[in-house]
Symmetry: C2
Subunit: 317 residues, 2 copies
Amino acid sequence: LQNTVSNLTPLAAGAEFDKIRSIWRVLGARAVGGGDDCAIVRVGDEQIAVSTDMALEGTHFREGWLTPAEIGWRATAAALSDLAAVAAEPRGVLVSLALSPEWHDDFVGELMDGVGEVAASVGAKVWGGDVVRGERLTIDVAVVGSVTNPVLRSTAGPGDRLWVTGRLGGPLAAVESWEAGQQPEETARERFARPEPRIEQAFWLRDHDAKALIDVSDGLLSDAGQLAAASSVSCAIEASTVPWHPAVTNETTALLSGEEFELLVALPHDSDADLSDRFVERFGLELTCVGRIEAGSGVALLRDGESAELPQGFRHF
Amino acid sequence: LQNTVSNLTPLAAGAEFDKIRSIWRVLGARAVGGGDDCAIVRVGDEQIAVSTDMALEGTHFREGWLTPAEIGWRATAAALSDLAAVAAEPRGVLVSLALSPEWHDDFVGELMDGVGEVAASVGAKVWGGDVVRGERLTIDVAVVGSVTNPVLRSTAGPGDRLWVTGRLGGPLAAVESWEAGQQPEETARERFARPEPRIEQAFWLRDHDAKALIDVSDGLLSDAGQLAAASSVSCAIEASTVPWHPAVTNETTALLSGEEFELLVALPHDSDADLSDRFVERFGLELTCVGRIEAGSGVALLRDGESAELPQGFRHF
């Protein structure tokens, strides 16, 4: 593989991605593997997928929202989800923590219990970490997986259908409740606090001819935009088909909610008619066709087949 | 390898290490590989070494001490030094950054240029990373290396001689100058700002029958204590033999200075007489015998062969 900057997977437009692009430009040939959810690199005879994900109290969650175990679970699940997004098998996690001196050892133990729990749920071990003194709670999780047949975000083609796992909007609904000073509805809160990395689901989709794969970390529309940019195609999403989490009361929440860690997958247009039923039967989780891949670029939102405005809150970061 | 918590390498006494011990206890069989500088784990047919190292402005360095490139270099060198400490070959680094909104893209580019430069100097690539919004500059670097014949810290035996690379105390001398409101002496500053991971030196020492290896990250006495605890031996260090960095004006600075990223190595008692000369010739860096391994536990400081007091500032964290 050994991609250099000259053949990086393209990212969608946006200031945040400009920053990442400028970093890769500075690094040049000193970097490999950028642009997908994981870098996929060869170490000796083995192909591994690696990624890292940092979360800060005050930026990614606020004090009082989560228990220590949930903070550890959520940060680790976010990093593991990057392995799901390329259909890699999780092997190990490394966890760096910055903690204020007031944090008791018990809290650290509970946080690491959450890390260990979600890692174990997908067959990964905790390989190590670092603990340093800081002011705001910061947790950075690096993950390593093995990957034989990765599914990238750059390999969708016109005619493919776009599917999404689960029901969207729960995490954003929970955040909106907290921000309004209310307790979130319990299942929405759970979606924010203890997201499940869709590892087994990614393997299943890979084995059912997935053409391209990405996880919903920035929001359905945003990540569809990444898949479109990487594959040099357009993603047309039919708004009425997007499955809402039960706590969601408006479409925009489902379209924009990030940190879902559900999978967005391009499957062949002629997938078996009972694909969705078999997925639900296997995982107790929905798999819903939400659109199709077309020639072109960017994301188009359709309403009953007609072109519709993208939501106001939709930012390309 | 797949060590579980039941056969972790022991750590020395101290509150900081109590915290790490309590984390490993919570994790139990969900963790592997703890207690050495790196976790050494098998992924498929390949044995890899992994570690992570987090640095915060205000905790590990202060505003104005370092250029952005030096911040990137130093944090990455610290993590790569953990690979040197087990004689692993660096392959890739993952870099997570928390940045305040005031940080210009240019600064981020310069920082990542420092990351890329030190990674390239030891044959590693930048595999990816994460950039998030924070208040204090935070950089976490995870490293992955290949390792065929690791040298651990737990395999020293009575009779071995203890050797150290380079000259100690430069980084602490630099910090002492900054803390006193002065500009550090230039070579001491360089030792703090751009430490060199001793990768090639570690391979050379491994190939010259190194019995046990650790890097000097917490200070000579402290890391000797870790090697002693891990190997169930005592480290006797003859104070008069410890090589001082030219900017160092007192013995305590050389004995306590951390983040040296020099190597402390146990070599057989009958190593060739010209070992040190050959090392200097090969690397332009000193290799000095500073003591010996004895039966017992802990660290003993000797002055002209007589037992001496450990410095006041010596804390087991």
